[in-house]
């Protein structure tokens, strides 16, 4: 934009906010990415719904019906998604007219926060790895390791709630850190690439979980299925807003770690050495930073956060483990970290957005029958657009040249 001394006419003051908005900054690019992804998602709904396709085929003779059906199928789907994730208009109406039904009103929001908690925690872990040049694909396995350790401390130790819960969280973090330590030390000692080892460890942990779920002490006594014992009441994360809403103290843990990670990367010495190694390993080595030690520490820290993610959902909402625990959280954590641009607060918002899409997707499937996998398609598209700010700028004809500097980066295979 024109500077203070420039001869060009100053823009009228009231237009400044709009002009700023039209420039490519993070919020605008992200917002437009979400819009683009939703539009493509809508296209996907239309082309896979036979009745809509059929109506569109006769758009020449019955244009109103064709457009109406298209709008309805897309509108219903996204409305269901919105009311499942944020607030349902009918529940709002009920509360406004009768003054009751607050729990129903806040259930969608509470579910979104519950789903966001592990995504944010695991996403923070992956982000710390990315910004240090360590590509941790093993969040899934580390999450399982953390959950197993937390569960063990949960049912094996008898303590009052005030001490038990922190101890369970600590055990979860330690379990995840231990699972991160192995690929870390292998990389530091032998040079084995963490992309390979962390992926392989996911499968090792999935199988180990299957084994432990079928033997003592983890298996639920008297069960022949692969189901674990349950978390005792003293080891469960307390609810934040009464027992009707599942949102629990795990959310506070996640928020605390967002704040902690911000402090850590910006202010602490260790965080600084992580950043240096991430930006330029050779400069770091020259400055006397032990790159191997950093690699091990980063993978442990990353694993600890993934372990906490598993612990938060175990001690917050699930209370027992089953085969394949954690589902896609470990992999979604990677996309959440990318969408959040490896910054803690960014990861928080990215986690909330992904959780809202997931939770909303479930409601969409229940209401309209459209598979909830649409949510993961939309998530992937969002990250694809966010990672390509120049493309977004071209599509929406944004001004400003800042887009290129918004480009994301991981750092390649490295060495």
């Amino acid at each position: 934009m024109s500077g203070p001394g420039s001869p060009r006419r100053q823009p009228r003051p009231w237009t400044v906010p709009f002009r700023r908005l039209a420039q490519a900054n993070v919020a605008v690019v992200t917002g437009l990415s979400v819009v683009s992804a939703l539009v493509l998602g809508a296209v996907l709904i239309v082309v896979t719904t036979p009745s809509v396709l059929h109506a569109l085929g006769r758009i020449g003779t019955h244009p109103g019906r064709a457009l109406g059906l298209t709008g309805a199928s897309v509108g219903d789907a996204y409305l269901a998604m919105f009311s499942g994730a944020i607030v349902s208009p009918s529940a709002l109406g009920h509360v406004l007219s009768s003054g009751h039904g607050w729990v129903t009103l806040f259930t969608p929001l509470s579910e979104t926060l519950v789903a966001a908690t592990p995504l944010v925690l695991a996403g923070l872990g992956v982000a710390i790895g990315f910004s240090t040049g360590v590509f941790n694909i093993g969040a899934q396995g580390q999450l399982i390791a953390g959950a197993l350790a937390a569960l063990y401390v949960g049912f094996e130790v008898k303590l009052p709630i005030g001490i038990h819960v922190p101890l369970v969280l600590l055990a979860g973090a330690a379990g995840g850190a231990a699972a991160g330590f192995v690929p870390g030390i292998l990389k530091a000692r032998t040079g084995a690439h963490e992309v390979i080892t962390t992926i392989m460890f996911n499968y090792v942990m999935l199988n180990l979980l299957d084994y432990l779920l079928s033997v003592s002490p983890f298996q639920q006594p008297g069960q022949s299925n692969a189901i674990s014992r349950t978390m005792p009441a003293t080891a469960r994360l307390p609810h934040l807003f009464g027992s009707g809403l599942r949102v629990n103290a795990g959310l506070l843990v996640a928020l605390a770690f967002v704040a902690g990670a911000t402090w850590f990367t910006r202010r602490s010495t260790l965080g600084f050495s992580f950043r240096v190694i991430g930006l330029n390993p050779n400069a770091g080595k020259t400055a006397g930073i032990d790159a191997r030690r950093v690699t091990v520490l980063v993978l442990m820290l990353s694993g600890a956060l993934a372990g906490l993610a598993g612990t938060a959902s175990l001690a917050g909402t699930d209370f027992f483990l089953s085969s394949g625990y954690g589902g896609n959280i470990g992999f979604d954590a990677i996309t959440v970290a990318l969408l959040g641009r490896n910054r803690p607060v960014g990861v928080l918002f990215a986690g909330l957005l992904f959780a809202a899409l997931d939770v909303g997707g479930r409601n969409m499937q229940a209401v309209t029958g459209i598979p909830l996998d649409l949510a993961s398609v939309i998530q992937a598209l969002i990250v694809m657009f966010v990672a390509t700010p120049v493309l977004v700028r071209e599509i929406f004809r944004l001004r400003g040249s800042a887009a290129a500097s918004l480009q994301l980066s991981t750092g390649g295979w490295g060495g």
Binding site: L44, T48, T49, F135, I137, L186, R189, T190, G191, A192, H193, V195, I196, T197, I199, M200, F201, N202, Y203, V204, N207, L208, D210, Y211, S214, G278, L279, N280, P281, N282, F331, I334, T335, L338, I370, P371, D373, L374, A375, S376, V377, Q379, A380, L381, V383, M384, A387, T388, V390, L391, Q407, L408, S409, T410, G411, G412, W413, G414, G415
Partner: protein, 429 residues
């Protein structure tokens, strides 16, 4: 934070480290073999009664029959353990890198053989069938790792193999089912893979998006999309849309009559033969032709390649799309090559395993084949041991391929050197 200035020096350091033969590693491999021999003696020799026998079935039609091999567990395992220990001692004394991997491989094979003899005690093990299963599990990995080699030799990281697998498997099944023509199905799989190869190239080369990010996103997108379409499109009309035939095995006349190897290598479906042909073609192309020299130049030092008149970006575009095509064919092998229908996330992470095989094989087609065979064999081993009921819980058998990969990657391979410009965006100015 571009890696342009960073990768090259690191790569050079690694290359130098590779030349200085790590005699410690060779000695370590030797010691490991001796330890394995002890394990074999304790586990497979002294724990078994002297009368226990194991039978390996060595024939399958149409090959000329080979009579089953019956062995005394004690004597066979004992002899193999001694051999394994001897090879270990040889490695410790030799301390030279040349041939060390071969000796280690033979030693490890003797241990495996001893283990198999022990596992099959008092029972029969169909050895030929085991090799067939190995080959079948290896085939998609060969396609996947060749796809990786094609992309990364030209300097583009393809972490999206898993996604291209899924796309190829899905479209291959659907087109094969609707048209009833399996070749069209294979073509559709190739097109689907090529499309996502093109997307990777488009975003990574035109917009210089971080290649690992594009790759991860493509995997996420393909997973979500195929899950969505399976549920929304295939499931309602399974018989029309998701019931393709599968390619029948083609016996190669005469060669299929060779004992043991005949039924393993020369009575397979078209995907296995195609993988073998591609392996040879890609290897020859990369290391023996002008095209290959150019590709490698672009992958190692794009600026130098540009100055001698090679168009860096078009070389990369072409290779990444071709890599996608190869991975897409590999994907189609999951559906029209074996199972005969598409199911959600059926590739089960094998795209990543193929990526690992490529790295483990040091970005060389035959290296990747070796890694893929190792993985395929452990998959086969696991399924046969589950049948033999050796008393190892099945989850531990199932994790064996992954543990072996980790052990091999960290114990034998160590620091590997990718093509110097791998993953670095390129622009002319």
């Amino acid at each position: 934070m571009s890696m342009t200035g960073v990768v090259a020096p690191d790569g050079l350091v690694a290359a130098a480290a590779e030349r200085v033969a790590p005699s410690g590693r060779v000695r370590g491999m030797g010691v490991f073999l001796v330890l394995l021999a002890f394990v074999a003696v304790l586990g497979f020799v002294s724990s078994v009664s002297s009368r226990a026998h194991a039978t390996f079935l060595l024939s399958a039609p149409p090959a000329v029959g080979v009579s089953p091999l019956t062995m005394s567990v004690r004597w066979t395992a004992g002899a193999l353990a001694v051999l394994c220990a001897a090879l270990g001692v040889l490695l410790v004394l030799r301390r030279e890198q040349r041939g060390a991997y071969l000796i280690f491989g033979v030693g490890f094979a003797t241990f495996l053989w001893a283990f198999l003899v022990w596992a099959a005690r008092g029972a029969q093990l169909n050895f030929v069938q085991m090799l067939v299963t190995t080959l079948i599990s290896t085939t998609p990995l060969v396609f996947g790792s060749l796809s990786g080699v094609m992309c990364e030799r030209s300097g583009v990281i393809n972490i999206a193999i898993e996604g291209q697998f899924l796309a190829g498997a899905f479209l291959g099944a659907m087109v094969g089912s609707v048209t009833g023509d399996l070749w069209l199905g294979m073509l559709a799989g190739a097109v689907a893979g090529g499309l996502f190869g093109w997307l990777l190239a488009f975003l990574a080369l035109r917009y210089a998006v971080d290649q690992i990010i594009v790759g991860v996103v493509i995997v996420a997108f393909c997973t979500g999309l195929t899950n969505f379409l399976t549920e929304q499109v295939l499931t309602p009309d399974q018989t029309t849309l998701n019931s393709p035939q599968t390619f029948a095995p083609i016996a190669i006349p005469l060669l299929d009559k060779i004992p043991i190897l005949g039924p393993v290598l020369f009575d397979e479906n078209v995907f296995v033969y195609l993988a073998a042909i591609l392996l040879v073609v890609v290897n020859f192309g990369l290391f023996r032709t002008r095209w290959g020299l150019r590709v490698r130049a672009v992958g190692e030092h794009p600026r130098a390649a540009e100055t001698v008149g090679i168009h860096v970006l078009s070389v990369r575009y072409r290779n990444v799309v071709l890599g996608g095509v190869i991975a897409g064919i590999g994907g189609a092998s999951f559906t029209i090559g074996s199972v005969g229908e598409f199911s959600s996330e059926m590739t089960a992470g094998l795209g990543y395993v193929a990526l690992a095989a490529m790295i483990f094989g040091r970005w060389k087609p035959f290296g990747a084949l070796g890694a893929s065979l190792l993985f395929g064999f452990s998959v086969s081993l696991q399924s046969f041991l589950a049948v033999l009921n050796v008393g190892i819980p099945s989850p531990f058998l199932a994790m064996a391929p992954y543990v072996i990969t980790i052990a091999v990657v960290s114990g034998l391979v160590g620091r590997v050197r990718p093509p110097a410009a791998d993953g670095a965006p390129y622009s002319r100015e």
